[in-house]
């Protein structure tokens, strides 16, 4: 999702430890609309940024339950309801032989559903103004980027730049994507 008027302050660090220490300070300075862009996930960053645990496992649980229910209902409908057949006089409701398909159905919905939800959540469940995509931050290569959005209630362009520079960040700058100031 691209926002058109994106304003905020960018800066970058060179090591994951610097970024981790900076995240704690940004969190403790009562900023809320901030983000860290990193080439790989940093252990302990969730706590440092003051984030709650991801809610994806709850979605997975629901999807797994859905997969089980769907498979059981469908197999019951097919094998008992719609067209019961006689296989050597065995009972129609042969539940042990329904387990493999039920298991596969559970895995299918839970695994693939969780992945899709996580990709969407990465875009939706974020701050109101993520950093503009057109800026080459280097965050997928070797930079550990901090971004404090102008939507933050405490935001003051001069003050925030001073603050980010005081964390030890390089390349600190005010960004206004609409004005072409990147």
């Amino acid at each position: 999702m691209q926002r058109h008027s994106t304003k905020g302050v960018l800066g970058h660090f060179y090591t994951p430890n610097e970024a981790l220490a900076a995240a704690v300070k940004v969190r403790d300075s009562q900023y809320t609309h901030f983000d860290f862009l990193t080439p790989f996930p940093i252990h302990g960053m969730e706590e440092a940024m003051g984030q709650k645990r991801s809610w994806i496992p709850v979605v997975t649980g629901l999807l797994a339950f859905f997969g089980i229910t769907l498979a059981q209902t469908f197999i019951y409908y097919v094998m008992i309801g719609d067209w019961p057949m006689n296989f050597g006089g065995k009972p129609n409701f042969a539940w042990p032989s329904f387990i493999p398909v039920t298991f596969e159905s559970m895995v299918f919905y839970a695994a693939i559903g969780s992945a899709i939800v996580a990709i969407i959540a990465g875009k939706r469940d974020t701050i109101p103004q993520p950093p503009p995509m057109k800026i080459a931050t280097g965050a997928t290569i070797d930079k550990f980027v901090v971004w404090i959005s102008a939507t933050d209630p405490k935001f003051d362009a001069t003050e925030v730049q001073r603050f980010v520079a005081s964390l030890g960040a390089d390349g600190v700058r005010y960004v206004d994507a609409e004005a072409g100031n990147v």
């Binding site: 060179y14 080439p39 996930p41 940024m49 496992p57 719609d82 067209w83 298991f103 996580a118 005010y174």
Partner: protein, 498 residues
């Protein structure tokens, strides 16, 4: 001895020659003055984050090398065998194949089980080793997962063309139809197979693709051409490395691993049910599910070693896929090889101890009957050859590793040959005994499936990053790998300027 600790091993170990395969002991470096053992680095050559990007992405960025074109040419040539073989079979019918009474399951089912087995190592490396926190998986997981997908693609062809009328393959799927509706039989192991294989293919694809997302963004950010940027941007779903996205990403990745682990065991279990739920002597055995799963991991790891040996040399990835990685895989080969050998022996013991005449005959016939040569190849390649890995020098010898991996793959193909053909060719009724042999068309389609596999793999290494860049960066030492801070802070605007 604090000097030993002040310099990271990531900076000092230049290559395979300096790796020993054992932790490095730093005398006196422990917290209380004792010795400390630190693991050897997973990436050698003192690489930086930018080096990783360059070394791995360059294969997608530059024009293919001559060696790649030669390999691709051979793979395409072999692939033409598959196309020609299948087209001829569709045109003139299944009579051109070796299958007949009494051996009705021939090379197609052998190839199906063989390729599905190959696929298992990818998921094992990516999911099971992830859950166990084995960091060495980072060097090989991407290409092993790709191998899984391509092996499953090869496997998927065979049951479909084995149907005879492959154009009715959609009848295998339960959908409301005009024939009653006549549904599939959910009590049948063959119908479980449809669900297991298709779920396995899709979940493996998802797992692989989720792992690729951050790396696709890296390729995008290195790209210079706007079309290339747009293409990889779309593939990476606009990934920008936000930690608010990483949070959900990591959670989903863990969940995918947790689901892929039982899935990989369930798939080959269900494949073994195709045999074990029948009444054929030699098939009707409770040992089949674990026996098949172990065999699958065994053959899959052998194929990973084959591919990694090629990738290390052709794509110059020896700093990322080190000899330590190869040795770790050799250990898995040895363990699973012994388990497979144990299963072969257990089958014989049970055939004798069970006291069933037919079962006893089948096993005597397997080892000493007309197909004894196949049993001999199977047992030698799978149970005896991997024993060389007791010696560390053998585990760290690239030639031995490559040779053993090829022999194991041959042995595992013959394992399926032995199981399927020897059980069917002499069953309960001596008057209906017979022999089976692969015709030229059987061989053509088998060889062609290798063509398909290698064609897909060679395209993969050209288009996508073949090593998991973001995961590799996560196991490196930032003190060595991070870009150095420039001497003067290079701010675009001075702080305070708006």
């Amino acid at each position: 001895m604090t000097t030993a600790r002040s310099e990271s091993l990531y900076a000092t170990v230049a290559g395979d020659a300096q790796l020993k395969g054992v932790p490095v002991v730093l005398p006196g470096a422990g917290p209380y003055g004792g010795d400390e053992e630190v693991p050897e680095p997973l990436v050698t050559g003192g690489k930086t984050y930018q080096d990783v990007d360059r070394d791995i992405c360059m294969h997608t960025e530059q024009f293919p090398t001559r060696r790649w074109w030669i390999a691709f040419g051979i793979a395409l040539f072999l692939l033409s065998f598959l196309v020609l073989g299948i087209a001829t079979m569709f045109y003139s019918g299944m009579g051109i194949l070796g299958i007949n009474h009494p051996v009705g399951w021939g090379s197609f089912i052998i190839n199906f089980v063989f390729w599905i087995g190959i696929g298992h190592a990818g998921t094992l490396i990516s999911a099971v080793l992830f859950l166990f926190g084995q960091k060495w998986r980072t060097g090989i997981n991407r290409s092993a997962e790709a191998m899984t997908l391509f092996a499953v693609a090869c496997a998927g062809i065979f049951p479909v063309i084995h149907l005879g009328r492959a154009w009715f393959a959609y009848w295998l799927v339960p959908y409301p139809n005009g024939r009653g509706p006549l549904w599939v039989n959910f009590n049948s192991a063959l119908s479980w197979d449809i669900f297991a294989i298709s779920t396995y293919a899709l979940v493996s694809l998802t797992f692989w693709y989720v792992g690729l997302l951050p790396d696709l963004a890296t390729v995008r950010d290195r790209a210079t051409h706007p079309w290339r940027k747009a293409f990889y941007n779309a593939l990476s779903f606009n990934w920008n490395g936000s930690h608010r996205a990483w949070r959900h990403y990591e959670s989903a990745y863990m969940i995918l691993a947790a689901f892929a682990t039982p899935l990989v065991f369930s798939v080959h279990t269900i494949v073994s049910f195709d045999f074990a739920t029948s009444i054929m002597p030699g098939w009707h055995a409770t040992i089949f599910p674990p026996y098949f799963v172990i065999g699958a991991i065994f053959s899959g790891f052998a194929m990973v070693i084959t591919l990694m040996t090629i990738m290390r040399n052709v794509f110059n990835l020896k700093n990322y896929i080190t000899l330590n990685h190869m040795e770790a895989m050799a250990k898995v080969i040895m363990l699973t090889g012994m388990l497979v050998g144990f299963a072969y022996t257990t089958e014989f013991f049970m055939a004798w101890y069970g006291g069933n005449d037919y079962e006893g005959f089948i096993f005597r016939n397997r080892a000493f009957g007309p197909y004894g040569w196949a049993y001999f190849i199977m047992f030698t390649c799978n149970a005896i050859v991997p024993q060389v890995f007791w010696f560390k020098s053998m585990r760290r010898n690239a030639w031995v590793l490559f040779a053993v991996s090829i022999l194991v793959n041959i042995g595992m193909w013959f394992e399926r040959y032995v199981i399927i053909v020897t059980s069917l060719h002499r069953d309960f009724l001596p008057s209906s005994w017979g022999m089976y042999g692969l015709t030229a068309w059987d061989w053509m389609i088998l060889i062609g499936s290798f063509g398909l596999f290698f064609t897909l793999f060679l395209l993969f290494v050209r288009i996508l990053p073949a090593v998991a860049i973001s995961e590799i960066k996560g196991v490196m030492d930032p003190a060595v790998s991070a870009t150095k801070r420039p001497a003067a802070p290079a701010a675009a605007h001075a702080p305070g300027e708006v």
